[in-house]
Amino acid sequence: MTDTPHEGRSALHRAVSSVGRFADAQWRFARDCIIAFGGLVDLLRETLRWCVEGIIRPRGRLGRATLLQQMVRVGVRSIGIVVLVQIFIGIIIALQMAPTLQQYGQLERVADVVGIAVVRELGPLITAIVLSGFAGASIAAEIGSMVEGEEIKALRAHAMNPVRFLVVPRFVATVIMLTGLSVIADLVGVIGGMITAVFVLDLGAEVYVEFTRQALKLSDFYGGLAKAAVFGVTISMIACYEGFNVKGGAEGVGRATTATVVKSIVSLIAVDVVFTIVFYVFKI
């Protein structure tokens, strides 16, 4: 179909064309989302297959060395920034809640609020968001550069599966390290709240620890860790998928890193909503 020159069109024609173009754009967006979701599921399925294969038939030091390298890159190098952010989160929650709790004469309950908010929700979520920018973007950029440099093609041509060689170590490292970092995040977040309670709200450290202990159940902690593991799956899959689908040279690599961060954050929040609904329904 050829476009009629703009000047010759009636107002009705232009309006209908605009609606058509809008609908077409929405359809393309929806189609792209469905294709990307299918690709992600496919990548996850293949990654899990190679993980199982790796457990049944471990293949020497190459995989382990890469895994350790990735764990350092994803996890160890992120510890500083996670600690800093979680201390701030602990301080913010304590200061935000203190005036309201004071009104009800329940200032000690600031420990409950900080503990539950950090351990159930903000520890894993904020750590995952930090990691999506810190590790997710770098994984996408690294794999994208390998696509552009024909390294992925070279792997396949040498009969080496890129999912096994590149995705599996990054997937396992992200899941393990995000879960581990969440434990640190929980602890540091609570400490941030305690620092505020002791130095600003004049509460005793023992009182704060006791209230935190009473408020938190073991299931809160495990629930948070389960979330963190799924967040790790989400970030690593999105980052690897975006990396593998890089097109258009350096500009494409840049687009992939941005897309990884944006899509990861949206997906993390969506996954968190699902977790929260499930936890609410099953009273976990």
Partner: protein, 288 residues
Amino acid sequence: MDSNAVISIRDAVKSFPDRDGEPVRVLDGVSFEIHRGETLVIMGGSGCGKSTLLNCLIGEYRIDGGSIAYHTSDMDRPRDLAAVDEVELDRIRQRFGILFQSGALFNSLTVSENVALPLREHTSVDPAVIDIIVTLKLQQVKMLPHRDKMPSQLSGGQKKRAGLARATALDPEILFYDEPSAGLDPVTSAAIDELMMDFSKKLHVTSVVVTHEMDSAFRIADRMVMLEKGRVLRIGKREEFEQLRDADPGTLLGDAEQLLHQFLNGASTGPLTDRDGLSMFEKLIIQG
């Protein structure tokens, strides 16, 4: 399939969707055979389908129709790439090596680790023996002094040499070269050509070279294939192509010969540039 053929391509068809999702044929019924031990040069202008054909030959793309049959020395019967599963495809891949345009070395590994990788992955050879093999392979391409360097520390020619050492790590029967002279100065390009001829003569490998560098092509080829619009325009011995290149344009019969003559001589005027698709403006620029 000819008993001397190591690869037989029959009516290979490959299409890719355009922006509207309509399939566009990039390979349109390509047929020819690659003989054991020969150096075959695949050439053609940009967009003629030679890179797609190479990608189909190495199993990167699956063809939509026809067949690409391999018959390496370890096979009791020819295996069609279009019909094999991933496991079988990987087994076939271990029988060939590829030198990529950019070298495609793994940037996170040193030169020697790059060469050792296929050996570590596909053999159960002792690490000490792997080290000896790596030393030999690097010696063959004169890269031994650079064995501990990272790819980022190498020049373009050195990357290709290291890539060649990696491609030959498993002693392949077939070597594919994707634009081996691209981006190299004439001296380095000639040195790479020498290495390719060395491998053909000493190791008796079959070489398949995709290039549009005519000097290099005439130096190394036993036979040549010219692709045009996804089809084989001409296949023959190097001498036939040399005759065509040096022929007086007035004695050439038909469009195909005229087109080949223009391509082989790198002339700016001729049927290649007079085809539909060129605007009047472009024609004026080309004709000066």
